[in-house]
Amino acid sequence: MKLSAVPAAVLLAGAAAAALLASRAISAGAIAAVLLGVCLRAPVGRRRLYLVGAVSTGLGVFVLSPFLWIEGSSALWSGPTVPVLGRVDVTAEELEIAALNGLRLAALGLAFAAYALLLDHDRLVAAAGFARRSALAVALATRLVPTLERDAFGLAEAVRGRGVRVEGARGRARLLSPLVAGSLERASALAEAMEARGFGRAGATRAPRPAWGVLDRAAVGAAAGLVVAGALWL
């Protein structure tokens, strides 16, 4: 039995909200770990970019924020005094808060990764009711990430095929402009194709989809439970 797209999206949103509301690092960490497990069901090639993004963002917050906050008295390390920031030090309390915030952010990123990698966005668009255009825009924007990754790889490969070296961050940065221009061109072509296929015309209908099952209803209930638990107990 497979979870439908809308209940799955609601469940992921519930998990992300619970992680943001959680006040203990272990709770946020547990939610992040579960979401990581879910993401690992996606094919290796597709999940890599999303997982690197989610984990590195969380890690970045954990590593950097203790140096920027002034919190707690249990100093673990004392550094120099920096203009504007004041004295740079790291306390046990700062590390605890950094871990919580890092895990919250990682959980949020992983929930988005699971949404992008595993959900049937077409079903979400179909279920969007009056906001169908907005849902389609979100679905197309989500698809932009893997498309951009594929285009970037293809562009770099084509440049290599010409015997031209792409060196370091500066060389890669030079590819950014053609990559963005290519995306805009593609977006324009897609908009044209959508218009030619009647998008935006009055009186649109929907293809029939299977009704929600017990598992789908349970998932929506679990999502609500997660939010409440995140606010009260986690």
């Binding site: 490969e157 084509a158 031209v164």
Partner: protein, 470 residues
């Protein structure tokens, strides 16, 4: 009453100095099959867009004259309102896919047109079957090959049951057999069809009427027999001369190899081999064409030959530098001017770049922005951008996609001369008319060779001194 009527249509894109169409007048009748021929950038795609109402609604620009579809003036009816009466399959399938799953993609247009929900899935199934794509129904669109996507795009158009079907190079990424099947299906639809094609034989096999457009003007409008006479007299490259002669004289004998692949195997993911123990040799002085159906591994083998992919097993020997032209011309648009794009691989040497552009018939475009070029012109720019550095092994993946027969013949001749200079040329293509010294066929099962599989050993190509800087 005519299904479509075009009267004195003159149109210029916004910011363009020259009009894309000049004084075009024609009528299309119900159920007739029309081949739309003409050189790259001649206005064929613009004419199709005008028939779909996308010109001027979507593109803006200056529009004079009148286009009527089923009695509706396209200036007063938006393209979305004409959808269903008209359906369009555009040139690049990747740029027209909206949904993530194939069956939903085909259903998209039907939903927009307000088709009764109970009918939608049945029509989706019928359309996929007609496009020979029923087996793809549950696949993700992002995982499909170019040829598979073309079938899905055609199915999406067929599902609308249009009275007028506009096809802009709809088989450019299909192997000849698949293209023939697809066009046969189109011919049996009962809709009026306008087919823009650079593979003239395919278009003429379907059409009872031919339109020839050049520099935005309709030069010929008549029946197929009359068209063959007119083409033979006025535009001989379109009359089949090129397609009938696909050999190149002076095959080199005993020349040293530019590249040798022995027992090469490759898989993108475990358990799904694309190539298994394949042998291939390209000698200096020869043009070798690599043929095979969609999914047979031509692109993979071409990339291995050029050093962009390392084989999982087998041996690759290459002498000197290799250059590779990808089948997506959009990947050769890095700089802001055509001349800079062509000069990228030679450290900005504009003299060499100008010569390379002239060789592919783009000398006139040196100062233009690469994104202002048509699809076929972009393909030629890619060729100039790779060949300008004169690599010892030139590997081209579908270099004739969207290129008109005259330019194609010129490129064939030029490649033969390039090879005669002591270099090897490997061309992966569906184009059976492409001239070559030798044709190697890669079967769907990647033709295991007799040589035993060995461990991977690849002699890396010498890298150029050029770095990325426009």
């Amino acid at each position: 009453m005519a299904l479509a009527r075009v009267e004195g249509l003159t149109y210029a894109y916004p910011g363009s100095e020259a009009p894309a169409l000049v004084g075009v007048s024609l009528e299309l009748r119900e159920r007739e099959a029309v081949a739309l021929l003409g050189p790259s950038g001649s206005g064929k795609s613009t004419l199709l867009r005008a028939l779909a109402g996308l010109v001027p609604h979507f593109h803006g620009g200056q529009f004079a004259g009148r286009v009527e579809i089923a009695g509706r003036d396209t200036r007063k009816s938006r393209p979305a309102e004409l959808a269903g009466t008209v359906a369009t399959v555009f040139q690049d399938p990747e740029d027209q896919v909206v949904m993530t799953v194939v069956e939903n993609e085909v259903a998209f247009g039907l939903e927009n047109l307000g088709t009764p929900p109970g009918e939608i899935w049945r029509r989706v199934e019928d359309a996929l079957a007609a496009a020979d794509a029923l087996h793809l129904a549950r696949r993700r669109t992002a995982e499909l090959s170019g040829g598979e996507l073309q079938r899905v795009c055609l199915a999406s158009a067929l599902a609308l049951r249009p009275r007028l079907l506009l096809l802009d190079e709809p088989t450019s990424q299909l192997d000849p057999e698949a293209a023939e099947i697809l066009l046969r299906q189109v011919a049996g639809l009962g809709a009026a069809v306008v087919l823009s094609e650079q593979r003239v034989g395919r278009a003429l096999a379907l059409a009872s009427r031919v339109l020839f457009v050049e520099a935005g003007r309709l030069l010929f409008d008549g029946g197929r027999e009359g068209a063959l006479e007119w083409l033979a007299e006025n535009r001989p490259f379109y009359s089949g001369v090129y397609a009938s002669d696909n050999s190149v004289a002076d095959e080199p004998a005993g020349a040293a190899p530019a590249c040798r692949l022995v027992g090469v195997s490759f898989a993108y993911r475990p358990g799904a081999p694309v190539l298994e123990r394949v042998d291939l040799e390209v000698r200096r002085g020869e043009v070798v064409v690599l043929e095979g159906p969609n999914g047979s591994g031509k692109t993979t083998l071409a990339k291995i030959a050029s050093g962009l992919l390392e084989p999982a097993a087998g041996r690759v020997e290459r002498v000197g530098r290799a250059g590779y032209l990808s089948q997506d011309p959009g990947r050769y648009l890095v700089c802001d001017r055509v001349i800079d794009e062509a000069a990228l691989a030679v450290g900005g040497d504009r003299g060499l770049a100008q010569r390379a552009l002239a060789q592919v018939g783009l000398g006139w475009a040196a100062d233009r922005h690469p994104r202002d070029l048509s699809s076929g012109e972009r393909e030629r720019l890619g060729l100039a951008a790779v060949a300008v550095a004169e690599p010892d092994l030139l590997v081209l993946d579908e270099p004739t996609r969207g290129i008109d027969p005259e330019r194609k013949a010129e490129i064939g001749t030029w490649l033969a001369a390039y090879a005669a200079g002591g270099r090897g040329v490997l061309v992966a293509t569906h184009d059976r008319g492409f001239p070559a010294h030798r044709r190697v066929s890669l079967a769907g099962d990647s033709s295991p060779a007799q040589s035993p599989t060995s461990t991977a050993e690849s002699h890396a190509l010498d890298s150029s001194d050029a770095v990325l800087a426009c």
